[in-house]
């Protein structure tokens, strides 16, 4: 009965075996290369850990005025005011609302940490030129939008 098997079938079996062998080889190769790519750079920015460093805001004193004069913070946000005195006279950053008081030498730079703050307006002055040297930190209520801010 076995001899009765057509030679065609043998051919098919060889072809089939070859096909399977090649396919599995391809799969192994493909799998290997796939594995390689997985070992390479891990997906980096899927969940970014929050940056806990406070935001740094540059405030320039020039001609006895603050620039910018208004600083807007998110409620609860902590920032560093990086105050640059470009005048040739000493200035004192003072705010009894922010509870900060710091001398900035002529041409000097001083860092002042501010916040976290509740919503509100916190005035600050350059005490030695208080008539012009005025600014404020604004902490808007949540929901306070840009339109209201521009008004």
């Amino acid at each position: 009965m076995n001899e009765k098997l057509p030679p065609m079938k043998d051919n098919t079996a060889v072809l089939f075996t070859t096909f399977v062998a090649v396919l599995s080889l391809l799969l192994v190769l493909a799998g290997k290369s796939f594995a390689d790519t997985e070992v390479l750079p891990p997906p980096k920015v899927i969940v970014q850990s929050p940056d806990t460093r406070p935001r740094s805001i540059i405030v320039i004193i020039k001609d006895h005025r603050f620039e910018p004069e208004q600083i807007t913070l998110i409620p609860g946000e902590k920032v560093i005011l990086h105050i640059v005195n470009k005048d040739d006279s000493v200035e004192e950053f003072e705010s009894r609302y922010l509870k900060r008081e710091k001398i900035i030498p002529a041409g000097g730079v001083v860092d002042i940490a501010v916040g976290p703050l509740k919503p509100g307006v916190y005035d600050f002055i350059g005490e030695y030129h208080a008539d012009t040297c005025q600014g404020r930190v604004v902490v808007p209520q949540p929901g306070w939008n840009a339109y209201q801010q521009s008004r």
Binding site: D88, S89, V90, E92, R96, I104, P105, V110, Y128
Partner: protein
């Protein structure tokens, strides 16, 4: 002119009030005034030196030099005042009864007047350096003479307030006056401890815990006339943080505890 006057007045007032309470506290002691005014002179010189080194101070300790410097001065003053108050508790009675004896003790160097002279020097130095910087700026920027006049008006105003307070103390009977000045010195010390804590919070060395605990700046603003007086004399704060209140409370209870302890220790000996 008035803007300048107000700036200077504010800076001078606190030191002037502290000096006047101290002058009242040493009233009648031979040679005490000379030492206190000597302390004041040292303080003025010191404030000029501090003003001179502002730049170095500003950049010291990673930019926290000013805060650390102020905190060290404040806590030193707190320690000196505490020492004085406890000493007064031990010797105040004798002082009231026998001024002549006290005078002799000063000459022998037993009395802690030098401690109070140190307090005056430090208080004047701390407040004075800002006045010196302000004056320096005024001279530098060639302001109208009116502004300079304002400077001296503010200076005179601060000193006058201190003088009025001192005059008020003189009206009191001696024993009562010493009791009052001692209580005031304890409150001044506590207020300075709270201010020192505020400096450390500003520099980020201490947490504020809760800020502010209350806000009475609408009813009694800290930079108003009454607020300024209360701030200098009893350490009033319109918007204190929890940490500052803790420092105030701990300082006041510590001084009270020390005074009571000495009173109790003394009581059996007297009966």
């Amino acid at each position: 002119m008035f803007a300048a006057a107000i700036v200077v007045f504010r800076e001078v007032l606190e030191a002037a009030l502290v000096v006047c309470v101290i002058l009242a506290a040493v009233r009648g002691v031979t040679g005490a005034f000379r030492m206190i005014f000597g302390g004041m002179g040292l303080g003025v010189l010191g404030s000029m030196a501090v003003a001179l080194f502002t730049e170095g101070l500003a950049s010291a300790f990673a930019g926290n030099g000013q805060e650390i410097f102020a905190a060290v001065i404040l806590f030193t003053v707190v320690a000196l005042l505490t020492w004085h108050i406890v000493w007064m508790q031990k010797h105040g009675r004798e002082m009231v009864h026998d001024m002549h004896k006290i005078g002799a003790e000063v000459r022998e160097g037993k009395r802690p007047i030098i401690v109070l002279a140190g307090v005056v020097a430090l208080a004047v130095m701390r407040e004075g350096s800002e006045v010196v910087l302000f004056l320096e700026g005024l001279i530098q920027s060639n302001h109208a003479p009116g502004v300079l006049a304002g400077f001296f008006l503010g200076l005179a105003g601060g000193v006058a307030c201190g003088a009025i307070l001192y005059w008020g103390f003189l009206k009191l009977p001696v024993a009562q006056m010493f009791r009052l000045t001692n209580v005031l010195l304890a409150l001044i010390a506590s207020g300075m401890a709270a201010k020192g804590a505020g400096k450390l919070i500003q520099a980020g060395y201490l947490p504020s815990l809760l800020d502010p605990v209350w806000d009475s700046s609408a009813a009694l603003p800290e930079d108003g006339v009454i607020g300024q007086f209360l701030s200098a004399l009893v350490g009033y704060m319109a918007t204190p943080s929890a940490m500052q209140l803790i420092f105030y409370g701990v300082c006041l209870s510590l001084i009270s505890a020390l005074v009571l302890w000495h009173k109790r220790k003394e009581a059996p000996a007297r009966t």
